[in-house]
Protein backbone atom coordinates (compact mmCIF):
# COMPACT_ATOMS: atom_id res chain seq x y z
CA UNK A 1 0.00 0.00 0.00
CA UNK A 2 2.13 2.81 -1.28
CA UNK A 3 1.53 6.49 -1.57
CA UNK A 4 -0.82 6.92 -4.51
CA UNK A 5 -0.19 9.91 -6.67
CA UNK A 6 -2.65 12.73 -6.90
CA UNK A 7 -3.21 11.87 -10.57
CA UNK A 8 -4.06 8.23 -9.90
CA UNK A 9 -6.54 9.18 -7.19
CA UNK A 10 -8.02 11.88 -9.40
CA UNK A 11 -8.53 9.38 -12.22
CA UNK A 12 -10.32 6.91 -9.97
CA UNK A 13 -12.53 9.67 -8.57
CA UNK A 14 -13.38 10.92 -12.03
CA UNK A 15 -14.40 7.49 -13.20
CA UNK A 16 -16.88 7.13 -10.33
CA UNK A 17 -18.15 10.70 -10.22
CA UNK A 18 -21.22 10.04 -12.34
CA UNK A 19 -22.41 7.11 -10.28
CA UNK A 20 -22.04 8.90 -6.95
CA UNK A 21 -23.65 12.09 -8.17
CA UNK A 22 -26.45 10.09 -9.78
CA UNK A 23 -27.07 8.34 -6.49
CA UNK A 24 -27.05 11.60 -4.53
CA UNK A 25 -29.45 13.32 -6.93
CA UNK A 26 -31.92 10.50 -6.36
CA UNK A 27 -31.48 10.75 -2.59
CA UNK A 28 -31.62 14.49 -2.21
CA UNK A 29 -34.13 15.19 -4.98
CA UNK A 30 -32.29 18.24 -6.28
CA UNK A 31 -29.00 19.10 -7.99
CA UNK A 32 -27.60 21.67 -5.59
CA UNK A 33 -27.61 19.52 -2.45
CA UNK A 34 -26.37 16.53 -4.43
CA UNK A 35 -23.50 18.47 -6.00
CA UNK A 36 -22.49 19.99 -2.68
CA UNK A 37 -22.36 16.61 -0.95
CA UNK A 38 -20.57 15.06 -3.91
CA UNK A 39 -17.93 17.76 -3.75
CA UNK A 40 -17.45 17.04 -0.02
CA UNK A 41 -17.15 13.32 -0.63
CA UNK A 42 -14.53 13.78 -3.36
CA UNK A 43 -12.45 16.14 -1.24
CA UNK A 44 -12.61 13.77 1.69
CA UNK A 45 -11.62 10.85 -0.53
CA UNK A 46 -8.68 12.81 -1.89
CA UNK A 47 -7.41 13.50 1.64
CA UNK A 48 -7.98 9.99 3.02
CA UNK A 49 -6.62 8.15 0.01
CA UNK A 50 -3.47 10.25 -0.20
CA UNK A 51 -2.79 9.24 3.40
CA UNK A 52 -3.95 5.61 3.35
CA UNK A 53 -3.91 4.59 -0.30
CA UNK A 54 -6.84 3.85 -2.60
CA UNK A 55 -9.21 1.35 -0.93
CA UNK A 56 -9.88 -2.09 -2.48
CA UNK A 57 -13.41 -1.09 -3.39
CA UNK A 58 -13.26 2.66 -4.02
CA UNK A 59 -16.85 2.83 -5.22
CA UNK A 60 -18.18 1.28 -2.01
CA UNK A 61 -16.07 3.71 0.03
CA UNK A 62 -17.47 6.68 -1.89
CA UNK A 63 -21.00 5.34 -1.63
CA UNK A 64 -20.77 4.96 2.14
CA UNK A 65 -19.32 8.45 2.51
CA UNK A 66 -22.11 9.87 0.36
CA UNK A 67 -24.81 7.96 2.21
CA UNK A 68 -23.51 9.12 5.60
CA UNK A 69 -23.41 12.76 4.59
CA UNK A 70 -26.88 12.54 3.08
CA UNK A 71 -28.23 10.95 6.26
CA UNK A 72 -26.63 13.72 8.33
CA UNK A 73 -28.24 16.34 6.15
CA UNK A 74 -31.65 14.73 6.46
CA UNK A 75 -31.32 14.60 10.24
CA UNK A 76 -30.21 18.21 10.24
CA UNK A 77 -33.11 19.41 8.15
CA UNK A 78 -35.57 17.02 9.75
CA UNK A 79 -36.95 15.97 6.40
CA UNK A 80 -37.31 12.36 5.36
CA UNK A 81 -36.22 12.94 1.79
CA UNK A 82 -35.94 9.78 -0.23
CA UNK A 83 -35.24 7.66 2.82
CA UNK A 84 -35.85 4.23 1.30
CA UNK A 85 -33.06 5.04 -1.12
CA UNK A 86 -30.73 4.83 1.84
CA UNK A 87 -31.51 1.18 2.35
CA UNK A 88 -29.86 -1.64 0.51
CA UNK A 89 -31.33 -5.03 1.42
CA UNK A 90 -29.24 -7.07 3.86
CA UNK A 91 -27.36 -9.98 2.38
CA UNK A 92 -23.86 -11.39 2.41
CA UNK A 93 -20.99 -9.19 1.29
CA UNK A 94 -20.66 -10.40 -2.31
CA UNK A 95 -24.35 -10.01 -3.03
CA UNK A 96 -24.32 -6.65 -1.35
CA UNK A 97 -21.47 -5.42 -3.56
CA UNK A 98 -23.25 -6.64 -6.66
CA UNK A 99 -26.50 -5.01 -5.57
CA UNK A 100 -24.61 -1.83 -4.86
CA UNK A 101 -22.96 -1.90 -8.27
CA UNK A 102 -26.28 -2.52 -9.95
CA UNK A 103 -28.01 0.20 -7.98
CA UNK A 104 -25.29 2.76 -8.71
CA UNK A 105 -25.29 1.75 -12.37
CA UNK A 106 -29.01 2.52 -12.47
CA UNK A 107 -28.33 5.89 -10.88
CA UNK A 108 -25.68 6.63 -13.48
CA UNK A 109 -28.13 5.74 -16.22
CA UNK A 110 -30.78 8.01 -14.72
CA UNK A 111 -28.29 10.83 -14.79
CA UNK A 112 -27.21 10.15 -18.39
CA UNK A 113 -30.79 10.07 -19.65
CA UNK A 114 -31.67 13.21 -17.73
CA UNK A 115 -28.68 15.18 -19.01
CA UNK A 116 -29.49 14.09 -22.55
CA UNK A 117 -33.22 14.79 -22.41
CA UNK A 118 -34.48 16.16 -25.74
CA UNK A 119 -36.24 19.00 -23.94
CA UNK A 120 -32.80 20.46 -23.22
CA UNK A 121 -31.18 22.33 -26.07
CA UNK A 122 -28.39 20.55 -27.90
CA UNK A 123 -25.75 23.06 -26.93
CA UNK A 124 -26.36 22.42 -23.25
CA UNK A 125 -26.67 18.64 -23.23
CA UNK A 126 -23.01 18.02 -23.95
CA UNK A 127 -21.56 20.40 -21.34
CA UNK A 128 -24.14 19.26 -18.77
CA UNK A 129 -23.18 15.62 -19.34
CA UNK A 130 -19.52 16.52 -19.10
CA UNK A 131 -19.93 18.52 -15.92
CA UNK A 132 -22.17 16.13 -14.02
CA UNK A 133 -21.09 12.74 -15.25
CA UNK A 134 -17.44 12.95 -16.11
CA UNK A 135 -16.59 15.18 -13.19
CA UNK A 136 -14.68 17.71 -15.24
CA UNK A 137 -14.40 21.09 -13.58
CA UNK A 138 -16.39 24.10 -14.75
CA UNK A 139 -13.18 25.66 -16.13
CA UNK A 140 -12.32 22.51 -18.07
CA UNK A 141 -15.78 22.21 -19.59
CA UNK A 142 -15.84 25.91 -20.46
CA UNK A 143 -12.44 25.74 -22.14
CA UNK A 144 -13.55 22.76 -24.21
CA UNK A 145 -16.21 25.03 -25.72
CA UNK A 146 -14.06 28.13 -25.82
CA UNK A 147 -16.39 30.19 -23.67
CA UNK A 148 -15.83 31.92 -20.35
CA UNK A 149 -16.50 29.82 -17.23
CA UNK A 150 -19.08 32.34 -16.04
CA UNK A 151 -21.06 31.98 -19.28
CA UNK A 152 -20.89 28.21 -19.08
CA UNK A 153 -22.01 28.28 -15.47
CA UNK A 154 -25.10 30.33 -16.38
CA UNK A 155 -25.95 27.92 -19.17
CA UNK A 156 -25.71 24.95 -16.83
CA UNK A 157 -27.74 26.64 -14.10
CA UNK A 158 -30.52 27.35 -16.60
CA UNK A 159 -30.47 23.74 -17.75
CA UNK A 160 -30.71 22.39 -14.21
CA UNK A 161 -33.51 24.82 -13.46
CA UNK A 162 -35.37 23.65 -16.54
CA UNK A 163 -34.98 20.03 -15.54
CA UNK A 164 -36.53 20.71 -12.16
CA UNK A 165 -39.21 23.21 -13.05
CA UNK A 166 -40.37 21.49 -16.24
CA UNK A 167 -40.67 18.26 -14.30
CA UNK A 168 -38.23 16.15 -16.26
CA UNK A 169 -38.40 12.88 -14.38
CA UNK A 170 -35.24 11.48 -12.86
CA UNK A 171 -35.85 8.04 -14.28
CA UNK A 172 -34.52 5.63 -16.84
CA UNK A 173 -37.15 5.71 -19.59
CA UNK A 174 -38.96 2.55 -20.49
CA UNK A 175 -41.35 1.15 -23.04
CA UNK A 176 -42.02 3.26 -26.08
CA UNK A 177 -40.06 6.19 -24.71
CA UNK A 178 -36.79 4.25 -24.54
CA UNK A 179 -36.02 4.28 -28.28
CA UNK A 180 -36.21 8.04 -28.83
CA UNK A 181 -34.44 8.71 -25.53
CA UNK A 182 -31.57 6.40 -26.45
CA UNK A 183 -31.42 8.32 -29.76
CA UNK A 184 -31.06 11.53 -27.77
CA UNK A 185 -28.22 10.10 -25.70
CA UNK A 186 -26.49 8.85 -28.85
CA UNK A 187 -26.81 12.26 -30.45
CA UNK A 188 -25.33 13.94 -27.37
CA UNK A 189 -22.40 11.53 -27.20
CA UNK A 190 -21.82 11.97 -30.95
CA UNK A 191 -21.70 15.74 -30.48
CA UNK A 192 -19.34 15.33 -27.53
CA UNK A 193 -17.00 13.16 -29.56
CA UNK A 194 -17.04 15.56 -32.52
CA UNK A 195 -16.34 18.49 -30.22
CA UNK A 196 -13.18 16.70 -29.13
CA UNK A 197 -12.25 15.32 -32.50
CA UNK A 198 -12.81 18.27 -34.81
CA UNK A 199 -12.04 21.19 -32.53
CA UNK A 200 -9.67 23.34 -34.51
CA UNK A 201 -8.46 25.26 -31.48
CA UNK A 202 -8.52 24.95 -27.75
CA UNK A 203 -6.31 22.87 -25.54
CA UNK A 204 -5.16 19.58 -27.08
CA UNK A 205 -5.52 17.78 -23.78
CA UNK A 206 -9.17 18.76 -23.44
CA UNK A 207 -9.89 17.56 -26.94
CA UNK A 208 -8.69 14.03 -26.30
CA UNK A 209 -10.44 14.04 -22.93
CA UNK A 210 -13.77 14.68 -24.68
CA UNK A 211 -13.21 11.82 -27.09
CA UNK A 212 -12.24 9.52 -24.25
CA UNK A 213 -15.29 10.39 -22.19
CA UNK A 214 -17.62 9.99 -25.15
CA UNK A 215 -16.18 6.54 -25.78
CA UNK A 216 -16.44 5.62 -22.10
CA UNK A 217 -20.12 6.59 -21.88
CA UNK A 218 -20.95 4.99 -25.21
CA UNK A 219 -19.33 1.78 -23.95
CA UNK A 220 -21.52 1.83 -20.84
CA UNK A 221 -24.65 2.49 -22.92
CA UNK A 222 -23.73 -0.29 -25.35
CA UNK A 223 -23.25 -2.74 -22.50
CA UNK A 224 -26.54 -1.85 -20.83
CA UNK A 225 -28.62 -1.68 -24.00
CA UNK A 226 -27.41 -4.59 -26.09
CA UNK A 227 -28.84 -5.61 -29.44
CA UNK A 228 -29.03 -2.09 -30.85
CA UNK A 229 -27.13 -1.79 -34.09
CA UNK A 230 -26.98 2.01 -34.07
CA UNK A 231 -25.54 2.11 -30.56
CA UNK A 232 -22.88 -0.47 -31.46
CA UNK A 233 -22.16 1.45 -34.65
CA UNK A 234 -21.78 4.74 -32.79
CA UNK A 235 -19.20 3.21 -30.47
CA UNK A 236 -17.48 1.54 -33.44
CA UNK A 237 -17.36 4.90 -35.24
CA UNK A 238 -15.76 6.59 -32.26
CA UNK A 239 -13.18 3.83 -31.81
CA UNK A 240 -12.28 3.79 -35.51
CA UNK A 241 -11.88 7.55 -35.70
CA UNK A 242 -10.07 7.94 -32.41
CA UNK A 243 -7.67 5.16 -33.45
CA UNK A 244 -6.05 7.73 -35.71
CA UNK A 245 -5.57 10.38 -33.02
CA UNK A 246 -1.81 9.85 -32.62
CA UNK A 247 -1.27 10.32 -36.36
CA UNK A 248 -3.55 13.33 -36.90
CA UNK A 249 -1.72 16.19 -35.24
CA UNK A 250 1.68 17.60 -36.16
CA UNK A 251 4.07 18.70 -33.43
CA UNK A 252 3.21 22.32 -34.26
CA UNK A 253 -0.48 21.56 -33.73
CA UNK A 254 -1.43 21.41 -37.41
CA UNK A 255 -3.71 18.74 -38.81
CA UNK A 256 -2.35 15.98 -41.03
CA UNK A 257 -4.66 14.84 -43.80
CA UNK A 258 -5.85 11.24 -43.78
CA UNK A 259 -3.85 10.33 -46.88
CA UNK A 260 -0.64 11.74 -45.37
CA UNK A 261 -0.92 10.09 -41.95
CA UNK A 262 1.64 7.58 -40.77
CA UNK A 263 -0.51 4.48 -40.50
CA UNK A 264 1.95 2.81 -38.16
CA UNK A 265 0.71 5.24 -35.50
CA UNK A 266 -2.89 4.13 -35.86
CA UNK A 267 -4.05 2.24 -32.75
CA UNK A 268 -4.52 -1.33 -33.95
CA UNK A 269 -6.35 -2.47 -30.83
CA UNK A 270 -9.01 0.21 -31.22
CA UNK A 271 -9.31 -0.59 -34.92
CA UNK A 272 -9.83 -4.27 -34.11
CA UNK A 273 -12.40 -3.42 -31.43
CA UNK A 274 -14.24 -1.01 -33.68
CA UNK A 275 -14.29 -3.34 -36.66
CA UNK A 276 -15.51 -6.27 -34.56
CA UNK A 277 -18.28 -4.15 -33.09
CA UNK A 278 -19.35 -2.89 -36.50
CA UNK A 279 -19.42 -6.48 -37.76
CA UNK A 280 -21.71 -7.45 -34.89
CA UNK A 281 -23.95 -4.50 -35.68
CA UNK A 282 -24.17 -5.40 -39.37
CA UNK A 283 -25.07 -8.97 -38.48
CA UNK A 284 -28.11 -7.77 -36.58
CA UNK A 285 -29.56 -6.80 -39.97
CA UNK A 286 -31.44 -3.85 -38.53
CA UNK A 287 -32.27 -1.04 -40.98
CA UNK A 288 -28.99 0.88 -41.32
CA UNK A 289 -28.90 4.21 -39.54
CA UNK A 290 -26.54 7.16 -39.88
CA UNK A 291 -24.00 5.84 -37.38
CA UNK A 292 -23.83 2.47 -39.09
CA UNK A 293 -23.15 4.16 -42.43
CA UNK A 294 -20.57 6.52 -40.98
CA UNK A 295 -18.86 3.69 -39.12
CA UNK A 296 -18.73 1.69 -42.36
CA UNK A 297 -17.02 4.61 -44.08
CA UNK A 298 -14.53 4.94 -41.21
CA UNK A 299 -13.87 1.19 -41.37
CA UNK A 300 -13.10 1.37 -45.10
CA UNK A 301 -10.53 4.09 -44.41
CA UNK A 302 -8.72 2.32 -41.59
CA UNK A 303 -8.77 -1.09 -43.24
CA UNK A 304 -6.83 0.20 -46.24
CA UNK A 305 -3.14 -0.61 -45.85
CA UNK A 306 -2.19 2.41 -47.94
CA UNK A 307 -4.16 5.45 -49.12
CA UNK A 308 -4.20 4.04 -52.67
CA UNK A 309 -5.80 0.82 -51.45
CA UNK A 310 -8.85 2.71 -50.14
CA UNK A 311 -12.16 1.51 -51.59
CA UNK A 312 -13.42 4.93 -52.68
CA UNK A 313 -16.23 3.46 -54.77
CA UNK A 314 -17.78 1.85 -51.74
CA UNK A 315 -17.22 4.98 -49.68
CA UNK A 316 -18.98 7.08 -52.31
CA UNK A 317 -21.94 4.69 -52.27
CA UNK A 318 -22.17 4.95 -48.50
CA UNK A 319 -22.12 8.75 -48.65
CA UNK A 320 -24.94 8.60 -51.18
CA UNK A 321 -27.03 6.58 -48.74
CA UNK A 322 -26.20 8.98 -45.93
CA UNK A 323 -27.36 11.87 -48.11
CA UNK A 324 -30.67 10.14 -48.68
CA UNK A 325 -31.07 9.83 -44.93
CA UNK A 326 -30.21 13.39 -44.00
CA UNK A 327 -29.07 15.85 -46.61
CA UNK A 328 -26.48 18.50 -45.77
CA UNK A 329 -24.30 20.44 -48.24
CA UNK A 330 -21.16 19.44 -46.33
CA UNK A 331 -22.06 15.77 -46.60
CA UNK A 332 -22.65 16.34 -50.30
CA UNK A 333 -19.13 17.77 -50.53
CA UNK A 334 -17.71 14.66 -48.84
CA UNK A 335 -19.60 12.56 -51.38
CA UNK A 336 -18.13 14.57 -54.27
CA UNK A 337 -14.62 14.10 -52.88
CA UNK A 338 -15.14 10.35 -52.63
CA UNK A 339 -16.37 10.27 -56.23
CA UNK A 340 -13.30 12.19 -57.39
CA UNK A 341 -10.98 9.91 -55.43
CA UNK A 342 -12.61 6.89 -57.05
CA UNK A 343 -11.51 8.29 -60.41
CA UNK A 344 -14.60 10.06 -61.75
CA UNK A 345 -13.51 13.70 -61.47
CA UNK A 346 -15.98 14.92 -64.11
CA UNK A 347 -18.93 13.55 -62.14
CA UNK A 348 -17.46 14.99 -58.94
CA UNK A 349 -17.20 18.45 -60.55
CA UNK A 350 -20.84 18.26 -61.56
CA UNK A 351 -21.83 17.40 -57.99
CA UNK A 352 -20.06 20.53 -56.77
CA UNK A 353 -22.27 22.76 -58.89
CA UNK A 354 -25.24 21.72 -56.73
CA UNK A 355 -23.64 23.07 -53.55
CA UNK A 356 -21.72 26.04 -54.96
CA UNK A 357 -24.10 28.59 -53.49
CA UNK A 358 -24.54 27.14 -49.99
CA UNK A 359 -20.84 26.52 -49.56
CA UNK A 360 -19.59 29.72 -51.19
CA UNK A 361 -17.76 30.73 -48.00
CA UNK A 362 -16.66 27.27 -46.96
CA UNK A 363 -12.91 26.74 -46.93
CA UNK A 364 -12.97 22.96 -47.64
CA UNK A 365 -15.18 23.50 -50.72
CA UNK A 366 -12.50 25.50 -52.51
CA UNK A 367 -9.74 23.14 -51.43
CA UNK A 368 -11.73 20.23 -52.84
CA UNK A 369 -12.46 21.98 -56.12
CA UNK A 370 -8.85 23.11 -56.42
CA UNK A 371 -7.84 19.49 -56.04
CA UNK A 372 -10.29 18.40 -58.76
CA UNK A 373 -8.90 21.11 -61.10
CA UNK A 374 -5.42 19.83 -60.44
CA UNK A 375 -6.49 16.29 -61.32
CA UNK A 376 -7.84 17.49 -64.67
CA UNK A 377 -4.82 19.72 -65.33
CA UNK A 378 -6.77 23.01 -65.05
CA UNK A 379 -3.77 24.78 -63.59
CA UNK A 380 -5.12 28.34 -63.45
CA UNK A 381 -8.51 27.36 -62.05
CA UNK A 382 -6.69 25.39 -59.38
CA UNK A 383 -4.62 28.43 -58.36
CA UNK A 384 -7.73 30.63 -58.29
CA UNK A 385 -9.58 28.27 -55.98
CA UNK A 386 -6.65 27.93 -53.58
CA UNK A 387 -6.34 31.72 -53.47
CA UNK A 388 -10.03 32.01 -52.67
CA UNK A 389 -9.60 29.37 -49.96
CA UNK A 390 -6.82 31.41 -48.39
CA UNK A 391 -9.24 34.28 -47.76
CA UNK A 392 -11.67 32.01 -45.94
CA UNK A 393 -9.65 30.82 -42.98
CA UNK A 394 -7.84 32.29 -39.96
CA UNK A 395 -6.49 28.93 -38.95
CA UNK A 396 -2.70 28.91 -39.25
CA UNK A 397 -2.28 25.30 -40.19
CA UNK A 398 -5.01 25.57 -42.84
CA UNK A 399 -3.35 28.66 -44.29
CA UNK A 400 0.01 26.92 -44.22
CA UNK A 401 -1.40 23.98 -46.13
CA UNK A 402 -2.83 26.20 -48.89
CA UNK A 403 0.36 28.27 -49.13
CA UNK A 404 2.33 25.08 -49.70
CA UNK A 405 -0.02 24.01 -52.52
CA UNK A 406 0.18 27.43 -54.14
CA UNK A 407 3.97 27.54 -53.97
CA UNK A 408 4.22 24.15 -55.69
CA UNK A 409 1.75 25.18 -58.38
CA UNK A 410 3.16 28.63 -59.09
CA UNK A 411 6.67 27.26 -59.42
CA UNK A 412 5.53 24.89 -62.19
Amino acid sequence: MGRETHTQIYQVLQSHNGRILGYLIRLMGNFDDAEDICQDVLESALNHWQENGIPDNPLAWLHTAAKNRATDQFRHQKITGNAEALLIPDSDTTDKNELLDQSLEDDLLRLIFTCCHPALSENVRVPLTLKLITGLSLEEVASAFLIAPRTMEQRLVRAKRKIQSAGIAYEVPSGQQLGPRVDSVMQTLYLMFNEGYFATSGKTLMRSELCREAIRLATIMQRLFPGRAELMSLLALMLLQDSRSEARIRTDGGLILLQDQNRVLWNKRMIAQGSALLDKALHLRQPPGRYQLQASIAALHVEAKTPDATDWNQIALLYRRLLEMEYTPVLHLNYAVAVAMSGNVEHAMKELTHIEVELENYFPFYCARADFHQKTGAHDDCINDYQRALTLTDNESEQGFVQEQLETLISK
Partner: protein, 117 residues
Protein backbone atom coordinates in the same frame (compact mmCIF):
# COMPACT_ATOMS: atom_id res chain seq x y z
CA UNK B 1 -47.88 18.58 -12.28
CA UNK B 2 -50.07 20.71 -14.51
CA UNK B 3 -48.94 21.62 -17.99
CA UNK B 4 -50.58 23.93 -20.51
CA UNK B 5 -50.38 22.82 -24.14
CA UNK B 6 -50.67 25.94 -26.29
CA UNK B 7 -51.85 25.05 -29.77
CA UNK B 8 -50.38 27.14 -32.58
CA UNK B 9 -51.36 26.82 -36.21
CA UNK B 10 -51.22 28.91 -39.35
CA UNK B 11 -54.75 30.37 -39.44
CA UNK B 12 -54.71 30.87 -43.17
CA UNK B 13 -54.39 27.10 -43.58
CA UNK B 14 -57.23 26.61 -41.15
CA UNK B 15 -59.63 28.98 -42.87
CA UNK B 16 -58.86 27.48 -46.26
CA UNK B 17 -60.09 24.07 -45.17
CA UNK B 18 -63.29 22.73 -46.65
CA UNK B 19 -66.24 22.08 -44.36
CA UNK B 20 -65.62 18.33 -44.50
CA UNK B 21 -61.94 18.73 -43.70
CA UNK B 22 -62.80 20.99 -40.79
CA UNK B 23 -65.35 18.51 -39.47
CA UNK B 24 -62.69 15.80 -39.66
CA UNK B 25 -60.34 17.95 -37.56
CA UNK B 26 -63.05 18.47 -34.94
CA UNK B 27 -63.63 14.73 -34.86
CA UNK B 28 -59.89 14.18 -34.27
CA UNK B 29 -60.00 16.64 -31.41
CA UNK B 30 -62.98 14.86 -29.86
CA UNK B 31 -60.97 11.62 -29.96
CA UNK B 32 -58.03 13.35 -28.28
CA UNK B 33 -60.19 14.86 -25.57
CA UNK B 34 -61.68 11.46 -24.90
CA UNK B 35 -58.21 9.92 -24.70
CA UNK B 36 -56.89 12.35 -22.12
CA UNK B 37 -60.13 12.29 -20.15
CA UNK B 38 -60.05 8.49 -19.91
CA UNK B 39 -56.39 8.68 -18.91
CA UNK B 40 -57.38 10.98 -16.07
CA UNK B 41 -55.06 13.82 -17.11
CA UNK B 42 -57.59 16.23 -18.67
CA UNK B 43 -58.07 19.40 -16.64
CA UNK B 44 -59.37 21.83 -19.26
CA UNK B 45 -59.29 22.54 -22.97
CA UNK B 46 -60.94 24.91 -25.41
CA UNK B 47 -60.62 26.05 -28.99
CA UNK B 48 -60.38 29.78 -29.54
CA UNK B 49 -62.04 31.90 -32.21
CA UNK B 50 -59.72 33.35 -34.84
CA UNK B 51 -57.21 36.08 -34.03
CA UNK B 52 -59.25 38.68 -35.90
CA UNK B 53 -61.73 38.43 -33.06
CA UNK B 54 -59.05 39.25 -30.52
CA UNK B 55 -58.56 42.52 -28.68
CA UNK B 56 -55.32 43.32 -26.90
CA UNK B 57 -55.44 45.41 -23.74
CA UNK B 58 -52.51 47.39 -22.40
CA UNK B 59 -52.39 49.82 -19.52
CA UNK B 60 -49.43 52.20 -19.52
CA UNK B 61 -49.07 55.10 -17.13
CA UNK B 62 -52.70 54.73 -16.23
CA UNK B 63 -53.77 54.87 -19.89
CA UNK B 64 -55.66 51.94 -21.27
CA UNK B 65 -55.34 51.11 -24.95
CA UNK B 66 -57.30 48.53 -26.87
CA UNK B 67 -55.73 47.16 -30.02
CA UNK B 68 -57.66 45.22 -32.60
CA UNK B 69 -56.09 41.77 -33.02
CA UNK B 70 -53.57 39.54 -31.22
CA UNK B 71 -50.67 40.91 -29.16
CA UNK B 72 -48.22 40.39 -32.05
CA UNK B 73 -48.16 39.27 -35.63
CA UNK B 74 -46.74 35.78 -35.75
CA UNK B 75 -46.37 33.09 -38.42
CA UNK B 76 -48.52 30.71 -36.42
CA UNK B 77 -51.37 31.84 -34.24
CA UNK B 78 -52.75 30.60 -30.96
CA UNK B 79 -55.84 28.55 -31.73
CA UNK B 80 -56.61 26.73 -28.51
CA UNK B 81 -55.19 25.03 -25.45
CA UNK B 82 -55.36 22.01 -23.17
CA UNK B 83 -54.41 21.88 -19.52
CA UNK B 84 -53.21 18.42 -18.55
CA UNK B 85 -52.24 17.08 -15.15
CA UNK B 86 -49.33 14.71 -15.77
CA UNK B 87 -46.78 12.93 -13.65
CA UNK B 88 -43.81 14.45 -15.49
CA UNK B 89 -42.76 16.30 -18.62
CA UNK B 90 -42.43 13.14 -20.68
CA UNK B 91 -46.06 12.23 -20.07
CA UNK B 92 -47.17 15.73 -21.07
CA UNK B 93 -45.04 15.58 -24.22
CA UNK B 94 -46.49 12.19 -25.08
CA UNK B 95 -50.02 13.61 -25.05
CA UNK B 96 -49.04 16.87 -26.74
CA UNK B 97 -47.78 14.86 -29.70
CA UNK B 98 -51.26 13.38 -30.06
CA UNK B 99 -52.99 16.74 -30.38
CA UNK B 100 -54.17 16.82 -34.02
CA UNK B 101 -52.54 20.20 -34.70
CA UNK B 102 -49.11 18.80 -33.85
CA UNK B 103 -48.96 17.33 -37.37
CA UNK B 104 -48.98 20.70 -39.13
CA UNK B 105 -48.56 23.31 -36.38
CA UNK B 106 -46.71 23.62 -33.07
CA UNK B 107 -47.65 22.73 -29.54
CA UNK B 108 -45.89 24.63 -26.78
CA UNK B 109 -45.83 22.66 -23.53
CA UNK B 110 -45.19 24.68 -20.39
CA UNK B 111 -45.51 23.86 -16.70
CA UNK B 112 -48.05 25.82 -14.71
CA UNK B 113 -46.54 27.48 -11.69
CA UNK B 114 -47.51 25.82 -8.43
CA UNK B 115 -47.57 27.49 -5.06
CA UNK B 116 -46.87 25.43 -1.98
CA UNK B 117 -49.71 24.94 0.44
Amino acid sequence: MKYICLIYENEALMTSRSAEAQEAVFADFRVFTETVTKAGVMVAGDPLLETNTATTVRVRDGNTTHTDGPFAETKEQLGGYYILDCKDLDEALKYAAQIPTAKEGSIEVRPIMEFGG
